[in-house]
């Protein structure tokens, strides 16, 4: 466990900062003014907390001129905040499930055992879905870390929803077809377990998004 993880966790212990972090994570990229307005706090306070989150490595800062204002006198570029790509995990006592996952994935690939993996993922999904039948699907997805998107860039064009976060990110980076296949079957299983149409989950990979899209209820 390194000091920077402790520091990052500590930065999130403040409730205002946690709300700010969640707001930025859900919004993509925001300015201080947007963040302050969204939370109903003073801009200087928002700025202070946003910078603290950036110092802790939880947010990334970029500077861009606000559109519409150019040339001399248009002012300094605005500071924009977005969630950083850095992963924070705190396991006490120390655990390394990620390393185990990578080794298992390598073995599945070497053995060509994808079908068995997908079948197991489907069954696990059904179990999760059956357990959470009465919960709204969006809530369930949120609780599992998928972050179903609500922004304009998250609409698939046919009323479906993109998932902003991949809960298996580092695995999907190293073993894309395998991890994304597992994810698709897991989500299809979840839908089945809830008594819904498994076909609502389909693969539609895009950069910086989960590989799966959930289509709207097919009520004809």
């Amino acid at each position: 466990m390194d000091d920077s993880s402790i520091d990052a966790a500590q930065a999130l212990a403040d409730p205002v900062r946690r709300r700010l972090y969640e707001y930025v994570a859900a919004s993509g990229e925001v300015s201080r003014v947007q963040a302050a307005d969204a939370l109903g706090i003073q801009r200087t306070l928002a700025a202070h907390h946003l910078d603290r989150l950036a110092d802790a490595g939880l947010l990334e800062v970029s500077r861009r001129k606000v559109s519409g204002r150019e040339g001399p006198g248009s002012g300094r570029p605005a500071k924009l905040y977005r969630r950083s790509g850095r992963e924070l995990s705190l396991h006490l006592p120390p655990r390394d499930y990620e390393l185990a996952a990578h080794v298992l994935a390598e073995a599945v690939e070497r053995h060509g055992a994808e079908e068995a993996l997908y079948a197991a993922a489907r069954e696990e999904g059904r179990r999760i879905g059956a357990e959470h039948r009465d919960e709204p699907l969006a809530e369930l997805l949120r609780a599992r870390g998928y972050e179903p998107g609500e922004g304009p860039g998250d609409d698939t064009g046919d009323g479906g929803v993109r998932l902003r976060n991949c809960p298996f990110h580092t695995l999907a980076r190293t073993f894309p077809p395998l991890a994304c296949g597992l994810n698709l079957e897991l989500l299809r299983g979840v839908l089945e377990g809830r008594g819904e149409d498994r076909g609502r989950a389909r693969m539609d990979a895009r950069p910086d998004r989960c590989c799966v899209v959930i289509s709207k209820n097919n009520e004809h």
């Binding site: 894309p176 994304c180 990979a205």
Partner: protein, 160 residues
């Protein structure tokens, strides 16, 4: 991704697949029908530079420089990220997920990457040599993989 974009170098990519049956076989229809749309997707993918196409054809499926059963896919990209995004973050991923239906599993490496000076297209023989190099030595700067990539050769900085 540990390779940063370089304007002086582009990334060459060769991959080979052992077909389970001739492309005209009914069992291969799922693959054959997706060749054209996926190639079209590659052509307009960000960072796409070039792909091997048989003269007078729309793709390279008729070219079998390494044997009749070996389908080759040979292309050049601006950087590792653009190739990665096309390979794994587009409709191409779906094709990869189903690859076992149409291609035999091969133990050796089937995809090799290497850096080429921008504006040059290496020969197919060169691509074959890079694949051999990867199979013999594992990932090195001369022949590597998407999972273990290397940055482009250092651009010589102009004197200040």
């Amino acid at each position: 991704m540990n390779a940063t974009p370089s304007s002086r170098h582009h990334l060459a990519q060769i991959n080979v697949g052992v077909l389970k049956a001739p492309l005209s076989a009914p069992s291969m229809a799922g693959f054959a029908s997706r060749i054209e749309p996926v190639n079209a997707l590659a052509d307009k993918a960000p960072g796409f530079v070039w792909r091997l196409v048989e003269e007078g054809e729309g793709d390279a499926t008729g070219l079998r420089p390494f044997g009749d059963a070996l389908l080759i896919n040979y292309s050049v990209w601006e950087d590792v990220e653009s190739l990665w995004n096309f390979t794994y973050r587009s409709e191409h991923l779906e094709l990869l997920r189903d690859r076992r239906e149409w291609f035999d599993r091969v133990k050796e490496a089937h995809l090799a990457l290497w850096w080429v000076p921008s504006g040059t297209i290496p020969t197919v023989e060169e691509a074959g040599r890079r694949l051999d190099l990867l199979r013999e030595h594992g990932p090195t700067p001369g022949a590597f993989t998407l999972r273990t990539s290397f940055p482009p050769p250092a651009d010589h900085a102009p004197h200040a």
